[in-house]
């Protein structure tokens, strides 16, 4: 589809998604605490404006260029992911017949973006967060690859548009019940959240973003929220039938399903603690990866 129509649509979707992500995070956090939700819809906006009006700090002898670019890399990967999502039959901004492969590549490069963000400030907490994230980010990519390939099997194609069409009879979340739960773990890892937040965590005073002030902080958090929108949209496409649904227009179905995945991710973020890295590494390789194999087997047997 042409960029002239597609680009504004993408931008609108992204902005609404960013705002929804921030508002959801605030509102669900308050609900769990047991406080009134209050101005959860506008409080994140106030915080953004306040940070935007504040000084941008630097550290001693940082890697200036990569510090400036790292949020851009992260944001770019999210935008590419969102551009691959079909919002009507045969309609996506980037019409690529190997879109699953491109999304897989984008996921892998997230590790590089997060690492550079932690490396650049030349400060201990960001540096530890950066190195530690690589250890978890890499094997989590494998989970993603397995469940997305499993979703491509019934479509006989690596094109997300075909993956949606293949779900006209039955959504993948029912056909391959292990896929979506595993992909939620991937989303949390891609967006540095809760149990999979080994980069920007509380035990490192904010990890890779511990030295981010003012506009730097906004840029990184925006990119992080954009990645949440993109990864949830991919989840809705690969497992929940994307734009498929009765009565309402396709793009609305896609948005509603994306929102539902986002609610699940935000809830998990708040309710599940993060275990030490060695335990998580063992869990991923010894428990989650075999479950991903099983998911592939179920998908394969189902398609025969």
């Amino acid at each position: 589809m042409s960029l002239i129509v597609g680009l504004p649509a993408l931008l609108a979707l992204l902005l609404i998604g960013l705002w929804a992500a921030a508002a959801l995070d605030t509102a669900i956090g308050r609900l769990i605490v047991g406080r009134p939700v209050g101005m959860a819809a506008t409080d994140p906006l106030r915080a953004v404006v306040a940070d935007y009006l504040r000084q941008r700090t630097d550290t001693e002898a940082p890697d200036h260029l990569n510090w400036l670019l790292a949020p851009g890399y992260y944001f770019l990967l999210a935008v590419v992911g969102l551009a691959l999502v079909p919002f009507a039959p045969d309609q996506s901004l980037i019409a690529l017949d190997t879109s699953v492969v491109l999304w897989g590549a984008a996921e892998a490069v997230v590790v590089v973006a997060v690492f550079l963000h932690g490396w650049s400030p030349n400060a201990p907490f960001p540096l530890i967060g950066a190195y530690r994230y690589v250890a978890i980010g890499l094997p989590v990519m494998l989970l993603s690859m397995f469940v997305l390939i499993a979703a491509s099997i019934p479509a006989q194609s690596l094109d997300l548009r075909a993956v949606v069409e293949s779900q006209r009879g039955l959504w993948n979340v029912i056909r391959q019940p292990l896929g979506l739960p595993l992909f939620l773990a991937v989303v949390m890892s891609l967006t540095l959240r809760g149990p999979f937040d080994y980069a920007d965590s509380a035990d490192l005073a904010g990890g890779t973003s511990a030295e981010d002030g003012g506009p730097r902080w906004i840029a990184w958090q925006t990119a992080r929220a954009a990645m949440l929108v993109a990864a949830c949209a991919i989840a809705a496409t690969a497992f929940l039938g994307g734009y498929l649904g009765p009565v309402l227009p396709g793009w609305l179905w896609l948005s509603l399903k994306t929102l539902a995945v986002m609610v699940a991710v935000v809830l998990l973020t708040h309710l599940v603690p993060r275990m030490p890295v060695a335990q998580m590494l063992t869990l991923i390789w010894i428990v989650l990866l075999p479950i991903a194999f099983l998911d592939l087997l179920i998908a394969g047997l189902g398609a025969l």
Binding site: L53, G72, V80, L127, L142, F293, L304
Partner: protein, 117 residues
């Protein structure tokens, strides 16, 4: 070709937007960043050395196992497309391949590569 141009355009727009967001923001009348402001935050104390170092990467053995699986992905993408045509044969082939890699995981686990050594 059209896809490549679109991706390049998205790249330029995204990087440009995020750089502009950071460059245009901030106080216009703020004083420059001073030396005490630039010192890394470790709770109020001052570090003796720079943070950049020859970092002890504890998981490098795990990354070798990861590379084996990444290579497997190369094989898996085309496999997923032809799976339905090839049927049970494709399933058995991939099962054998994954079984071999699983032996690698078990061996690595026994050797303690997932512990933070």
């Amino acid at each position: 070709m059209e896809n490549t141009i679109q991706i390049l355009l998205l790249t330029a727009l995204s990087l440009g937007a995020v750089m502009a967001l950071q460059r245009l923001g901030g106080l216009s009348d703020a004083p420059g960043v001073t030396a005490p402001q630039a010192a890394p935050f470790i709770g109020g104390a001052a570090p003796g050395t720079h943070a950049w170092q020859r970092f002890h990467v504890r998981y490098y053995t795990m990354t070798l196992l990861f590379v084996a699986f990444e290579m497997e992905m190369m094989f898996m993408y085309p496999w997923a497309v032809v799976f339905v045509e090839e049927g049970i044969k494709a399933l058995v082939e991939m099962g054998m391949f994954l079984a071999i890699l699983t032996i690698g995981i078990i061996y690595g686990w026994r050797e303690g590569i997932f512990a933070w050594e």
